[in-house]
Structures are given as C-alpha cells and as structure tokens.
Amino acid sequence: MSSFDVVLAVPLCWIAVGLFGLSSRASRAQHARIFFPLGALGGLLLMAAAYPALSGEPHSLVLPLGLPDLRFHVRLDSLAAFFLVLLGAVSAGVSLYSAGYFDKGGGGQIRLVCFQYHVFLASMALVLLADDAYLFMVAWETMALASYFLVTTDHDIAQIRSAGLLYLIVAHIGATVILLCFGILQLGEWSYTFDAMRHNTLAAGWASAAFLLALFGFGAKAGFLPVHVWLPEAHPAAPSPISALMSGVMLKSAVYGLLRVTFDLLHLQLWWWGVVALSLGLLSALFGALFAAVQTDMKRLLAYSSIENLGIILAGVGLTVLFHSYDMNALAALALAATLYHCLNHALFKSLLFIVTGSVMHATGHRSLGKLGGLIRFMPRVAAAGLVGTLAIAGLPPLNGFASEWMLLQAFLLSPSLPNSYLSMLVPVATAALALAVAMAGYVMVKFYGVVFLGLPREELARAHDPDPWEQAGLLWLALWCVVLGLAPMALISATDPIASALVGAAIRDSVQGSSWLFLTAIRPERASYSALLLLAGIVLTVAMTFLLVRRLYHGRVRRSAPWDCGFAPLDARMQDTAEGFGQPIKQIFEPFFKLERSQPSPFDARPLYRSRIEDRIWYWLYVPVMRAVEWLSSLIGILHHGRIHLYLIYSFATLLVLLLLIQ
C-alpha cells in the first residue's frame, strides 16, 4: 500500500463516510460524534501520506471512469502533494471541530450537511489529484456545488439564499472560463490530459489568452478583484466550519489551479503576465485590508481579510512569473516558496479564526461585533487560540504569518535586479503597497480581537463559556500548527524544494543558501536572515529575567480596584469603542475608496442616531451595469414573442427568403 494508494483512498473514504452519514438514522449528536471524527482521521491520513510525496517521483494512474476516450487521469506530484498536505492538515482540524459544532444544531439536517461536507472534502482532493481537464472540471464544479449547498444550509433566511445564489453564479461563470482556458490548451481530438497539454507549444497570443482566462477563472474562485463580490457574502452565510474550509482550502485550490496552468501546462511565461498578476494581487490586497477595517460583522471582516491574503498570494505568483520570465530562476524559486508558504499559513490561521468565530457565535448567539466583548474572561481557551490566530494573521513574529511575508518582502527587494528598468523601479513601489496592506492587516486584527475578546461585553453574554472538547481539539490542532510553522519555517520550505525545481527550474536551496533549521535566509545569510526560534527565545528570556528581577528586587503586590479611566464616572460598556468607531479613521482617510452612506445626528436630536453603510464601488461600476444591460436586452427581446400568429408566420417566411437569397 504505497502512499499514493492512500492518497487516492482518502477521497473515496470521504465519499463513503458521506454516504453512510446520509443513510444513517443516528441521532444528531451521535451522528456528529461518529462521522466527522472519521473525516478528521481521513484528513490526518491524507496529510501523512501526501507529505512524503512532496519529494519523490510523480505517480499517475488512469481510472476506469470518465468519458470513453477520456478516462479519469490522476497524478500525484510535488505541487499537488503540497496542497494535499494543506487540505489534510486543515480538514483534520476543522472536522474535529465540526464534531462538536454540528451536534448543537446550527445548520439544517445533519445528514445532508455531513454528506455535502465530505463530498466537498473529496472534491477538493480530486481537484488537486486530477491530471486531465475533464476530471479537473468535474471535481472543480462538484466542489462549487457542494459548497453552495453547504452555504445555503440555513436557506430559510433570504439573505443566505441570495448569498448562495451570487456565489454559485460567479463560481459557474469562473468555471466556464477555466473550461475555455483548457479548450485553448488541448490539442483537439480527445487529448485533454494535462500530459498532452504539457507537450503542447502554443503561440504567444494563444498562451496569453490561456493565462488571462485562467487568471479570471481561478480568480473568480480565489476572490481576486473584480470578481470578489461573492466572497464577503458567502463566507458569513455559511456555517463556521464551512467558512473555514472555504476560506482556508477552497481558495487555495484556485491558487493551485493558477500555478498548475501557468507554470506546468503553459510552456512559456511572458513578463507582462507577471505585471498583470502583481498589480491585480496588490489591488486585491489593499482593497481587502481597507474593507476589512470597516466591517462590523466578524465573519465579513475575516472574509475581506481573505481577499487581502489571496491578493498577497497572487502578488507572489506574479512576482514568480516576472522572475521566471527573465530566467532569474533562483529568485523565482524564492518568490514561489514564499507564495506557497503563505498559502499554507493563511489556510491554517484563517480557518482557525473562522472556527473561533463559530465558537463565539455558538456561545453568545451574536456575530455582530457591536454586541460582543470581554469574552477572554468567559472563554479563555478560545481566546487563547484566537490570540494565536490574530498574531499570526497580523503578520507578527515569531508566528507563521510573518515568516511567509518576510520571505515575500525579501523577494520583492530583489526585484531591482530585473533587466527591465521600468519594472525594477515599479516593483519596489509595489512593495510599498504590500507593506501597507500588511500593516493594515495588523490594524484589522487588533480591532477584531480587541472588540471580540477584550473590554467589557457590549450585551449580556454571561452564559458564554468554553466549547466542548471536540471543538477545543480542533482549535488546538490548528493553533499548534500556526506556532510550529512560525518557529521552524525552514523545515517545510526546504521540503517544497521539488516543487520549485519542477515549476521554475531552480531549487529553493539555491535561493536560500546557508539557511538551517534555525535560520531562514534569502540568497545569502549575510544578505538577510531571520530566526523565529531565537527571536522567541530572546523575548521569553528577557521577559523571564525581567519578571524575576522585578520580583526579587521589588515585590509582586497587586491591588484590584475600579478602572481609573482619567477619573471619569463609573464605566459602562457603551463607553468603549465599537467596531464602527474603530474603523472610523480608516473610513475617513480612505473615503474615496468606499461607497459610503452616512446619516449623522444633529446636536439637537432628541435621540441622536448615527447610521453608516459601506458599499463596494466595484459592484456599482461593473456588476450593476451588466445586469442592467441584460435586463434591457431581455425586455427588448420580449417583443419577438408578440403573440400574433401573423408575425410568427412572417418570421419563418423572412427566414426562408433570407436563407434562399443567402445560398444563391
């Protein structure tokens, strides 16, 4: 039983679990307790089996399914293996969590949820394993479909229905575009396998078309501008574990697809592709950060932050293309490594944060930041996990978020060595945008954590308490990986070596010489180096020393009293900053970016009322006009079907004459 077999077996097991779940008549609690842990087990297996495949020959296999002349081809190479590890790691945590989450209700009939959940997992695994366009598309759309049904679990709420609808429409259009991209890549006559595509040499024009189609199609799934609109709607609508999987893994499958097409299936890369991807990525990153900063719903906030992180990842991809198109492969490898690593990190901390919000919602029944607060005292464990996630996503050392961003910035810093002078000047500026986005993320996450867990509860939340062991296990698992990957980045980055050598023809080893398990370096140690472990050690050491010294030299006496607060009147929760208030400066500074509706109270109002609504300009610039156009056309076309039989006869008469004259 090779690791390949295991990897293939896991999706099947997931489907089986789903089917059993669908057919079983167990009670809700039993159901959750039995099937989701099984799913988690599958995740662990997948992770364990895929990791060795990172380094090692690609295995491939042809299944006796699919179209007659186009059987399902599966292939496990290092790139797929990496994302499979990602999937396994995240799904293990989330499934554990779900075992606790779904037995408390909060989402339709558990049997359906269980089925769709596991089909969702399996389809994601198959997307990564697919080695021909057909299986890929089947898995891809199944993924979309399963997630759609999961998003609309509570479909009695109109808002959730419309969110799901928007999601599925965008997803399907994206999928069709990807399909066209494969249409360009294939050689005709049933040669749809990726293997055939690899040997297909396209003209630059066609290749560019394919790349742009792929960028659009996969972007629609990853939530790049301007096809991001579904994301902040769908993520909050879904049950939290689902949001976690969607944000954590599904978006990454889009990144995988983009990488697969750009570096594996297309035989050439042009520099301007890189520029397009880079600028699009940075735009998305800034956009996501800004909008996240002004959200008042914690899941929306996280959704926008997903847009931001995916933007960063896309920028990384763009940089890789840029370097690779100029044959600066070592640098390309560095950028690629950073990108992949950020994928993994984002998967972990974002899903962690999403399930944290799940626990919070279950404990308090609220998801609006305006109602929460002070939970660190009611649910300390969740708060601790949340803190890890927050620090990680805010890109703070020594956690994993920082490691990948550090590498990415290093890669950006190397860009001046590009031969094209425009690029070498523009890319540093792009770096600034990236830096701004990262800094914004810090702002956003302080807002998130501070408003949810710190301060005083803004509503009565006394019944809030830590969740059951299953949920805690899930939280622990993901938080643990955030820390581990933060402290020992090199371990995994060096493991991704084969990917870089396969895709950009240079091993990361070349781009990070002299780095050890302890030190993460870029190019040369003296060029730049960073060691999270020592950093942490240093901090811990100093903290410990200071603590002891203070205790020894002085004392540790503590008195409790009411907060001082500049000697104001006794405090109440309403005096704190709300999420609204916390976002206000951003709103004010970056006002042009938002479509803002505000009604401010006048000083003389009996009951002063402040209302403000933030909307997405892109929606009004792009989507509304398109919808209008379609409406207009269809209202126009209505005249065709006018009801008068003479008219219909004239149609067919005219058609006849036109055709007759046509063929003359």
């Binding site: 607060g373 002070g374 660190i376 005292r377 620090l391 805010a394 890109g395 703070l396 920082f402 550090w406 910035l409 290093q410 001046p416 002078s421 070498s424 000047m425 540093p428 770096t431 830096a435 701004l436 800094a439 914004m440 810090g442 702002y443 302080v446 807002k447 954590y449 501070g450 408003v451 710190l454 301060g455 005083l456 870029a522 060029r527 730049a528 180096s529 020592l534 950093l535 240093g538 901090i539 100093t542 903290v543 200071t546 603590f547 002085y554 006496r557 503590v558 008195r559 409790r560 009293s561 009411a562 907060p563 001082w564 607060d565 500049c566 405090l571 005096m575 704190q576 900053d577 400066p585």
Partner: protein, 317 residues
C-alpha cells in the same frame, strides 16, 4: 563564535538598556532649555521608574492575564530590538536573528500587545488610544520599510550589520538617496515614538493623546516597564538611524581596539541626536490627528523618492 561576540553583545545590550532613560531625560532636558525652563534634570526618568517599581500595582477588576502579561512582552521586545541593532560593533551574535524587516515586525509585535492590553479593561480612552496608535503605526510601518529599503538596495542586504559594514567600512561615498531616506526616517521616528508633532508625550489631554492613552490603566511596575520600554524604543530608533545614516565609528568585526572609541562616538551621536530631536519638537506644533496621515504620507513619498533616486543613479546614488 568566540567569547568576544558575547562580550560585545552583552556590553551593547547592557549599555543600551541602561542608557535609554538617560536619553529620554536628555531630550526632555533639552526641550526644557529651549523653552527657557530649568528641566527636571536628565536623571528624572530613572527616578520615575524606580518610584514606580516601589509602588503597589493597581489593576482594574476585569483586567485579564493579557493586561498583566503585556508590559513584560513589550519590554522584552524592546530589549531584544535594541540588542540587535549594531551600536558599538558589527559582530553581534544576535544580529542574524532579525534583519530590518524582522525588526519592524518586532516593533509591530510590541505595539499590538500594547494596543490589546489597552483595550482589555474596556475604558473609553484605552480603546481610543489603541485605535489611534494602530492607525499611526499602520501608516508609519510602510514608510519605515521604504526607508529601510534604500540602504538595503545600496548594500544588497537587509541585515543591519551588513549595511553598516558596507556604509561605514568601505571607501567613503555620499549617497544622495540616503538623504531622502534620512529625512523620511526622522519623520517616522517622530510618529512612532509619540513625539511632537504627531503626539505630545507630556499631556493627558484626551483629545490629543495617543500613546499616553494606552498607559492610562497601568500603574507601578507595569507602568515602569512600559515607560522604560518607551525609552528603549526611542533609543532603538535613534541607534538604527545612526547605524543607517551616520555609521562611522562603529567598530568592524573583531577590532577590539576600536571599542572604546566606538562607545565614545556612540555617546556623542546620541547627545547630538537628542538635542536635534528636542529642537525639532520645540519648533513644531502638535498637529490634528487627521493631519497625521498626510505627514506620514509625505514621509512615505520621500522614502520612495530616495529609493527611486538610488535606482536612477545606480551605484552612484
């Protein structure tokens, strides 16, 4: 890796940590002089800190572990930061631990803990301070990175030691790009260290305060640590500035003879820098909070300009 490393490391750390309050005192003293006041004396910060250590800590009822944990973390971060910057000599065992970018990250870590702690008690001012602090920081951070990138480009490295080696110990060349960077750096420094014109360290007027609002609920040893950390931060920034823009006099690797000299040079630079800072603060007025973005935007612009000049002029820039 002989003992020498650790000696110099230890020396630098101890020196920096112990001198930090002095630096702060010196700046305040200069300001007093410039305002025709007899100041409290350069040792005032020490007195303050010691006094605070003696007091009993008073915590709000609902203060969580985060609140008590934060001061130590912040202090720890700052100590680590200051011991990474090459102040006396470039051969520091700790310097490979974090390059400039990681240093920025370290500051960010401290800041975030600070802000979270401020929000913990749930006072109006705490969250107000946190919000403003994060706002200023999120705008200052990119500018700071940009500032760092110029020397990084010159020396093909983001490791401070390498930069210093390149700038100080090669044949002396003047980099116009660094001029831009330097100005931008000063602006960022003012913002990050809560100095006028961005913030006024010597006021508790709720409308204007940023950094002080974070400390409102703290008392005794926690407050002491935070004050000290604040001083350390100023120290660190100054020494980074020195390392980047006036690195001459920092001892190259393994030259113990130069050590005393470099200590002396360092002290002189500190004095000058402090005086200059005081002067800057004295002549400028505190600006409205929403002017700050423009201020930092300017800094950011200058930094980018610096980098572009560097790219334009190539090796001569």
């Amino acid at each position: 890796m002989n003992a020498g490393f650790f000696v110099s490391q230890l020396l630098q750390t101890v020196l920096a940590v112990s001198l930090a309050p002095l630096m702060l005192g010196w700046v305040n003293q200069c300001r007093a002089w410039l305002q025709n006041r007899t100041g409290a004396g350069v040792l005032q910060p020490y007195r303050l800190i010691i006094k605070l250590f003696h007091k009993d800590a008073v915590l709000a009822h609902n203060a969580s572990w985060l609140f008590r944990f934060a001061p130590y973390t912040v202090f720890g971060c700052m100590v680590l930061a200051v011991s990474i910057v090459p102040i006396l000599a470039t051969d520091l065992p700790l310097s490979p631990v974090a390059d400039l970018i990681a240093l920025v990250g370290l500051f960010a870590l401290a800041r975030v803990f600070m802000a979270l702690a401020a929000m913990d008690v749930g006072t109006a001012f705490g969250s107000l301070g946190a919000r403003r602090e994060m706002l200023v920081a999120s705008l200052a951070e990119p500018a700071l990175l940009m500032v760092f990138f110029t020397p990084a480009l010159i020396s093909q490295s983001t490791a401070l030691t390498t930069i210093v080696e390149t700038l100080a110990h090669r044949e002396l060349t003047l980099y116009p790009s660094l001029a831009f960077a330097a100005v931008a750096f000063v602006m960022v420094l003012l913002a990050e260290n809560a100095r006028i014109p961005v913030d006024n360290p010597s006021t508790h007027l709720e409308l204007t305060m940023i950094h002080e609002a974070l400390l409102l609920e703290y008392s005794a040893r926690h407050l002491a640590l935070l004050e000290w950390a604040h001083a350390l931060k100023l120290m660190t920034y100054t020494s980074i500035g020195i390392a980047l823009f006036l690195p001459w006099g920092i001892a190259p690797a393994g030259q113990w003879a130069m050590m005393p000299l470099s200590v002396l040079a360092f002290l002189v630079k500190l004095l000058l820098a402090g005086a200059a800072l005081a002067l800057l603060e004295a002549v400028s007025a505190k600006m409205r909070i929403f002017r700050v973005p423009e201020f930092l935007g300017m800094a950011f612009l200058l930094a980018v300009l610096g980098m572009l000049t560097r790219l334009l002029l190539g090796s001569a820039g």
